[in-house]
Symmetry: C2
Amino acid sequence: MITENIIGKKTSALGDKTTVAYNPKTNDQLEGTFCVATPEEVTQAVSIANTAWPQFKRLTGIQRAEFLEAIADEIEDLGDDLVERVMLESGLPAGRVKGERGRTCGQLRLFAQVLREGSWVNAVIDTGDADRKPIPKPDIRKMVSSIGPVVIFTASNFPLAFSTAGGDTASALAAGCPVIVKAHESHLGTNALVSQAIQKAAIKTNMPDGVFSSLVGSGYSLGEQLVQHPLIKGVAFTGSHRGGVALFNLANDRDEPIPVFAEMGSVNPIFMTPEYIQAHSQELAVGIAGSVNLGAGQFCTNPGLLITIENSQTNKFINHLVEAFADLKASSMLNTSIRNNYLSGRKRAKFTTGVHTEFESLPDDNYSAPPAIYSTNANVFFNNPFLHNEIFGPTSILIKCKSIAEMVEVTNNLKGQLTGSIFMEPNAQDQYKILANTLEERVGRLIYNGFPTGVEVGYAMQHGGPYPATTDSRYTSVGTDAIYRFVRPIAFQNCPAAFLPEELKNENPRGILRKVNGVITKDNS
Amino acid sequence: MITENIIGKKTSALGDKTTVAYNPKTNDQLEGTFCVATPEEVTQAVSIANTAWPQFKRLTGIQRAEFLEAIADEIEDLGDDLVERVMLESGLPAGRVKGERGRTCGQLRLFAQVLREGSWVNAVIDTGDADRKPIPKPDIRKMVSSIGPVVIFTASNFPLAFSTAGGDTASALAAGCPVIVKAHESHLGTNALVSQAIQKAAIKTNMPDGVFSSLVGSGYSLGEQLVQHPLIKGVAFTGSHRGGVALFNLANDRDEPIPVFAEMGSVNPIFMTPEYIQAHSQELAVGIAGSVNLGAGQFCTNPGLLITIENSQTNKFINHLVEAFADLKASSMLNTSIRNNYLSGRKRAKFTTGVHTEFESLPDDNYSAPPAIYSTNANVFFNNPFLHNEIFGPTSILIKCKSIAEMVEVTNNLKGQLTGSIFMEPNAQDQYKILANTLEERVGRLIYNGFPTGVEVGYAMQHGGPYPATTDSRYTSVGTDAIYRFVRPIAFQNCPAAFLPEELKNENPRGILRKVNGVITKDNS
């Protein structure tokens, strides 16, 4: 395992400062003393990224697809070395790590498929008309093209799928943006292994030097340097509200503001209708407990609010919920600081006046996250802003409403969310239409009779919601449309054929779908 | 002509403060004493917009299309009253005003057509699979939906096409966003006439009360109140760099930041290759003079920089340019303050050390914009940031480069632009490939052998470039894609058919193109 920074095709260790990773379960220092990047190394990484960019963005989609596929292959070739290091650094079990590796490689290959097919560039052609009166109509052709070098901040909670070679990196590289990854301080070894895999893949597939770099930081300085660098054109981040807002402000304060795609947490409310509770009380309770405790409650789609209508059924359901929570096994959290925040967050919720503890298991080691359920009413929720925020970990707060109207009022008081869920019976759904319509305004994904955890990687996924769930609700960070975060449209007017990108040439050599004079077609223009 | 504010279906004049419009040619006060909106009226307009929103966004595309078409009809029904008032307020000639009215109504009808066709919502359907292992695959369906009430700041330079019922309003209403227009202080009568036309159309087509309001302000206060209102979800603006940046900062400083689409000026460089100059010197000179002087140089795509390579041909070309400029007729500017800024801007360019005056006509009245051409070399351009900024009016600066490489260096020093143009001969274009590629990185629209003025309204238009041309280069403010500024995607997971929008139902009742399991089709899902 290398411990230097990766800058394009080389490794680099100019500075004296180092940092290490720890096992969250034992707090033991793990193998590897990693070099912290110096400002000179930041400049080098950004400069070669910018030099690589014009060539990288003009490669054919097939060439970039081969690069992404080679990354997936190299990651798989790391075999158990990678799985073991991820487990050591994250405390996650082998099954989860292997599943996440599969998802990571699957994402890379899915974007490769999108590139091979090619229609993703949204080619639009309005052909000219020399005879139009009063003035001739020009020929205008447009497609999206990459914005330039981007910085990816890796997430703590998915050391592979939202990290060095995760969805952000995969979609940015697919778009034609050189990527500079800021390694996560908790996953330095994982980052080193995966970064080297990407470096190997870039060399094997003859990518221009600089399409990928990976830098190690200590504190906020590295991130700030990267976001403020004038040649950086975009930022992706998954993490805390404070971190995301800091980057968003930094990016907007630049001479040239740049887009920041920050996913900053969500409470993912679940609305449970009385009819559904009556019919499925125990099953629902078990499902919710599982969703709340999944990955020690560290999923961005973890359900932190459960909204019901108070009646006799609800009390029975709470009993089922308490039973289901009592059966849960606490799992280890990603690092000590996350665990400390979790324990203090749930304590603050617990001691809020009007909040009742329904179930709370206590810590029985120094690294696990004991699950908890608290309950309250809508008024207490309205009056306590703290209860509107995510408690990162396996805790959920149940709000007992007096009526459907009060459920709608709760919805109107929610901040923007990644997801919202409604459980309702097919024969008793009409009365919840207003609730559904209201919830739709607050979320990126509206789920019926299902749990928010488990984010499909597909064409239709929307993983991004109104602020403060994300800084830009118009884009998704999961699924094929994630590529659109890293492009902008460019129009070519009366452009000679020799200067047109392949995708816009008359004869449609790429055989892609295009909008020609308003009609979607694969025909020549 | 009404002089009150328009708030949904009513008119309102709660305040004591009034304001008036002036004839820019005579400085005479024009008919009409217009009521300045009070904070209470701002709150009323935003509140009913927000109340109208859930119903308005769920109207069928056909219903919103009828509204847009009715607006176009009502505007045409205003007849000469509108044309005359626009002429009085803007100093623009009748032909231009009528042409702009045609463009304005054409835009409204084009968006209506987009809504009637319906595929613009980008419906994506990934069908579920209950048998998938290890867990069932959910059914996920996504489409775009409107972001909420938005504020439109009207532009000075297009009193119809970028104003009260201009492209911003048309695309926002098409998207399903209620619109609150801040009237332009120079076009208060035009705004009153057009706002009343929109109000009539809304009533005739049974739109929910609040889909359109129009408020009159005085100074910055009204705009600030609107952008800071928590229920406002987006902003569109065309105007000065200072104004756009102020709105962008206000919007980002909100508790919930919102998108700002500000178009803030551009110098629209034109690169003229020696071969093209040799073959078409006089014709090119006449074309440039016409483009620079079009609308008194007040087009956002006005060419403010002309880049050539210095040789004997260039000097001949400059002579042609001077002749062509001498033939130009100065036209009146939009208002006194714009004219004062123009005259002081060109004076500052003229007296920059190293800048040579090639042609300069002098003011011969108090309202017209006398055209001018200055020249300099690349070094002077590099060392004088002022020369990189737009001088709003019929002035252009010619930069004589030593080589193609220096042309590329000029390009690399340009700020973001709406457009860039290259004039080159078909048999001598290969050597300009790097120039073209470099210019592409700086612009939203790259034009070959044509002038930037004249922005087609179509499917392929991109009117928006890298910062500071606009605050968000990923979107266009002209053409059908302008609608995407006002929407965000929402995904529905395992949604009951009765709760799905028409566009996402299995049987595709709207008959639109959708991406079903990755394939574009009109078939059922």
